[in-house]
C-alpha cells in the first residue's frame, strides 16, 4: 500500500523485466526503500534511528556468527575461548569488541527511537501495530542481550544470571520450581550456559522476523512526521530514495564515527572489570550490576524495598520492573489527545522534558550505583514519577489539554503556504 502518487517501478532492461515476471524482488525493494515509497518531506534527524537500528541488528548478527565459530558454550572452557578469540584468532579482538559495543550502540539507538515515539506519540492510530511490534522487539532485544552477556562466563555473567533468574523465584508457589526448570539446575551452570547460547543465537533471527513485520506495518500508513499532521498531497512527500537514503547515509556515518571511536579507543568503558574474572560460584562480587542498558529497569526493581500489604517487596519489584515496559503496550489507548506531535501539546511537552526525561536520567544513574542511600531514595522518587507519568498524567493531560493550532499540511509547515 502506498499513496496514489507513488512512483511506479519500471524494469530498465531485458533481464530486469524477466526478473520482474519471475520474482519481483527488485520491485519489492523499490517500493519498500526506493523511489517508490513516498515519505514526509519534513522528517528531522530523530527519524534516522529506525534505519540505524536495522544497521546495528545486521552488525550484531554478522559479528556474532563469526564469534560463534570460535566460542565454546561449556562452563569449563567458555572463558578461555573468549580469551582465545581476543588473543589468537585473527582480528578476533575486533570482532569481540565490535559485538560488545555493538550491543550498546543498538540500545542507544533504540532508546532514542523509542523516545522519539514518546515525544511525537508515534504510537497513536493508525500506527498502533508498528508500536506494539516495536515493544515486542525491545523485549526480545533485552532477552537476547541478557543471555549474550552470560556467554563469556565471567563473574558478572554468572552473578547477573543468578540474580535475574532468581527474580522468577519471587513468583508465589511456582517460582522456585520455575527457576530450576529455566536454569536446568539450582544455579547457573553448564545446562544454563548451553541453553542461553542456543537462544542467543536464535533470538536475533526472531527479531529480524518481527522487524520485517514492523516495517510492513509502517508501510501501510507510512511514516509520521514532526508535525504529526498526516500526509495529504504529493507536495507533502519526497521519494525515500534518493532523499532519505542520502540523509540516512550521513546519519550512519556520524553514528559509526562514535561507535568505532568506542571500539578502538575505549572498548571496555561500557563494560564491567569483574567480567574479566572467570566465573566463581563461591565468590560474590561486591556490587552485582547488569549492563548499562538495563539500569533504569534494575533501578525500578530495587526501588521496592518494603513489603506492600500482603505483597513481599521482592515480588513488588519484579512486578514493577515488568510493568514498566508492559505499560508501553497500552500507550495508544491511554493517550487521548487528538494531536500527535509534542510540539503542539504545551502541557504534555512540559511533562516530557521536565518529568519523564529527568526521571529516566535518575533511573539510569541509580541503576548502576550500589544499593545504598541516596541512590535508593532517588530511584524511588523517579520510579513513582515514571508510573505516574504513563498511567496517570498522560491519560489526564491528553484529555484536558488545550493544544496549539496545527498547520493545514506538511507543505504549509515547510513552505508557509499549502501548495
Amino acid at each position: 500500500m502506498s499513496f496514489p502518487w507513488a512512483r511506479q517501478y519500471e524494469p530498465q532492461n531485458g533481464f530486469m523485466k524477466w526478473m520482474d515476471e519471475k520474482l519481483p524482488l527488485p520491485r519489492f525493494v523499490y517500493n519498500a526503500v526506493g523511489a517508490g515509497y513516498p515519505v514526509p518531506r519534513n522528517l528531522n534527524y530523530m527519524w534516522n534511528f529506525g534505519v540505524l537500528a536495522g544497521f546495528f541488528l545486521m552488525l550484531q548478527i554478522v559479528t556474532g556468527i563469526i564469534l560463534a565459530m570460535h566460542y565454546a558454550a561449556n562452563a569449563e572452557v567458555a572463558f578461555g575461548t573468549t580469551e582465545h578469540i581476543m588473543r589468537d584468532v585473527n582480528w578476533g579482538w575486533l570482532m569481540r569488541y565490535a559485538h560488545a559495543n555493538g550491543a550498546s550502540f543498538f540500545f542507544i539507538v533504540i532508546y532514542l527511537h523509542i523516545f522519539r515515539g514518546f515525544y511525537f506519540s508515534s504510537y497513536k492510530a493508525p500506527r498502533e501495530m508498528i508500536w506494539l511490534l516495536g515493544v515486542v522487539i525491545f523485549l526480545l532485544m533485552m532477552a537476547t542481550a541478557f543471555m549474550g552477556y552470560v556467554l563469556p562466563w565471567g563473574q558478572m555473567s554468572f552473578w547477573g544470571a543468578k540474580v535475574i533468574t532468581g527474580l522468577f523465584g519471587a513468583i508465589p508457589l511456582v517460582g522456585e520450581p520455575l527457576q530450576v526448570w529455566l536454569l536446568g539446575g539450582f544455579a547457573p551452570d553448564n545446562a544454563a550456559l548451553n541453553r542461553f547460547f542456543s537462544l542467543h543465537y536464535l533470538l536475533p533471527f526472531v527479531i529480524v522476523a518481527v522487524v520485517i513485520l514492523h516495517i510492513w506495518a509502517l508501510h501501510i500508513p507510512g511514516s509520521s512526521n514532526p508535525t504529526g499532521v498526516e500526509v495529504k498531497q504529493e507536495s507533502d512527500t519526497v521519494p525515500f530514495h534518493p532523499y532519505y537514503t542520502a540523509k540516512d547515509g550521513f546519519g550512519l556515518g556520524v553514528v559509526l564515527i562514535a561507535y568505532f571511536a568506542m571500539v578502538f579507543f575505549l572498548p571496555n568503558y561500557l563494560g564491567h572489570p569483574d567480567n574479566y574474572i572467570e566465573a566463581n560460584p563461591l565468590s560474590t562480587p561486591a556490587h552485582i550490576v547488569p549492563e548499562w542498558y538495563f539500569w533504569p529497569f534494575y533501578a525500578i526493581l530495587r526501588a521496592f524495598t518494603a513489603d506492600f500489604f500482603f505483597i513481599p517487596a521482592k515480588l513488588m519489584g519484579v512486578l514493577a520492573m515488568f510493568a514498566a515496559i508492559l505499560v508501553w503496550f497500552f500507550l495508544p489507548w491511554l493517550d487521548k489527545s487528538p494531536v500527535r506531535s509534542g510540539h503542539y501539546r504545551p502541557t504534555f511537552k512540559k511533562f516530557f522534558w521536565f518529568g519523564l526525561i529527568p526521571a529516566m536520567a535518575v533511573l539510569f544513574w541509580c541503576g548502576g550505583a550500589p544499593a545504598e542511600e541516596p541512590y535508593v531514595m532517588l530511584s524511588q522518587i523517579a520510579t513513582a514519577y515514571y508510573f505516574l507519568h504513563f498511567l496517570v498524567i498522560l491519560p489526564i493531560v491528553s484529555s484536558v489539554e488545550k493544544t496549539k493550532p496545527l498547520p493545514n499540511s506538511i507543505t504549509e509547515a515547510v513552505l508557509g503556504s499549502d501548495n
Binding site: G253, L256, A286
Partner: protein
C-alpha cells in the same frame, strides 16, 4: 474504562514505591544515612606513577625495554605464586626476544606432562607453545601455601580491576603499617576500626578493596631484581611500574595494534561522512527552502 484502570494501577505502583520511600526515609532520619565503614574511611583510588606509561592515550606505544624489565620482575618474583594461564610463552617474541631466547625462557618453566614410558603424571620443561604455568599443582595446594588465599591468575588482572594498570602499581607500592598509617581524617585504623586490623597472615593496604590482603609485599627492597645494564635503577617503584606495564601487555597484547587500526578507520569514516553530508545537501537543495518566517 481503560484509562480508569490505568490510573488505579498507576496510583497503586506509586503508593507502593512511596511506601518504600517512607520506610527508607524514616530509617535515614532515625539511624542516619549509611554506616561509616572501614572501607569507606580508608580505601584509596589507584593513581599512576610519575610520568605515566608510554602505552596510554590514543597514540600510545609499548616500551619494549620496559616490558622486558616487567617480565623479569614477573618471572623472578611473582611467578613463584601467580600463573599467566592465558599467555603463551611464544608471545614473548612480541617483546623483542629472539626465537632462541624464547625457547630458553620456555625451558626454564616446568609444566605438567606425562611420562612417555610409564604414563604417570610428571612435569617437563616448557615449550614456546605452552602457556605460563601455575606454580602449584592445584587450587588446594595454592591455598595451603598462602594462608588459605589463592593467588589469582595475573593474565587479565590489568583489565579485571577499575583502572587496572594503576591499580597494580598502587597496590604493590601501597602497603602500610596500620598502626601508624593515617587516613585523610587523620585517624589510624587501630583507633577508628580496631576490628578491621589485619589478622595473622594478612597485610594492610589501603588500595585493596577490603583493606587487608593475604599477599605479603612482594616487592620490598630496592635492587630485589638486577636489571641489565642501561636500564633504570630497580627501585621498588621502578619494579612496580615495570611489572604493571608488563601485566597490561599480558591483559591485552593487541592494545597498541587496536589503537593503530582505529585511526585510519576513523579517518576514512570522517571522509565518507563529509562526502555523505555534501551528497545529502546536494540532493535536498531543490526541496528544502529556507525556513519560512
Amino acid at each position: 474504562m481503560i484509562r480508569l484502570i490505568s490510573i488505579l494501577v498507576g496510583l497503586g505502583f506509586t503508593a507502593a514505591v512511596l511506601w518504600a520511600f517512607g520506610n527508607g526515609a524514616y530509617t535515614a532520619v532515625t539511624e542516619g544515612m549509611g554506616e561509616r565503614t572501614a572501607e569507606k574511611a580508608f580505601h584509596l583510588h589507584p593513581h599512576a606513577p610519575e610520568g605515566g606509561y608510554s602505552f596510554e592515550g590514543p597514540f600510545g606505544k609499548w616500551d619494549k625495554q620496559q616490558l622486558q624489565r616487567g617480565y623479569q620482575v614477573y618471572k623472578e618474583v611473582c611467578a613463584a605464586c601467580h600463573s599467566l594461564k592465558f599467555v603463551a610463552i611464544r608471545d614473548l617474541e612480541q617483546l623483542g626476544y629472539s626465537e632462541a631466547e624464547v625457547k630458553a625462557e620456555a625451558a626454564s618453566f616446568q609444566v605438567p606432562g606425562i611420562d612417555p614410558n610409564t604414563g604417570e603424571a610428571t612435569t617437563r620443561p616448557g615449550l614456546p607453545t605452552d602457556n605460563f604455568p601455575s606454580p602449584y599443582p592445584n587450587k588446594i595446594a595454592a591455598a595451603a601455601a598462602n594462608n588459605n588465599a589463592i593467588p589469582p591468575d595475573l593474565s587479565l588482572m590489568a583489565k579485571a580491576r577499575h583502572n587496572g594498570t594503576h591499580y597494580i602499581y598502587s597496590l604493590l607500592t601501597g602497603y602500610a603499617d596500620p598502626a601508624v598509617y593515617k587516613n585523610e581524617a587523620g585517624e589510624t585504623l587501630a583507633e577508628a576500626f580496631p576490628a578491621t586490623m589485619p589478622g595473622t597472615g594478612l597485610h594492610f593496604n589501603p588500595y585493596f578493596a577490603n583493606l587487608n590482603l593475604a599477599m605479603a609485599p612482594p616487592l620490598n627492597s630496592d635492587g630485589q631484581v638486577t636489571y641489565a645494564e642501561g636500564n633504570p635503577e630497580p627501585t621498588v617503584h621502578q619494579m612496580a611500574e615495570d611489572v604493571s606495564a608488563f601485566l597490561t601487555w599480558t591483559a591485552e597484547p593487541t592494545m597498541v595494534k587496536r589503537k593503530q587500526t582505529g585511526w585510519p578507520v576513523l579517518g576514512f569514516l570522517l571522509f565518507a561522512s563529509i562526502l555523505a553530508f555534501l551528497a545529502y545537501k546536494n540532493i535536498w537543495a531543490g526541496v528544502k527552502p529556507k525556513k519560512a518566517g
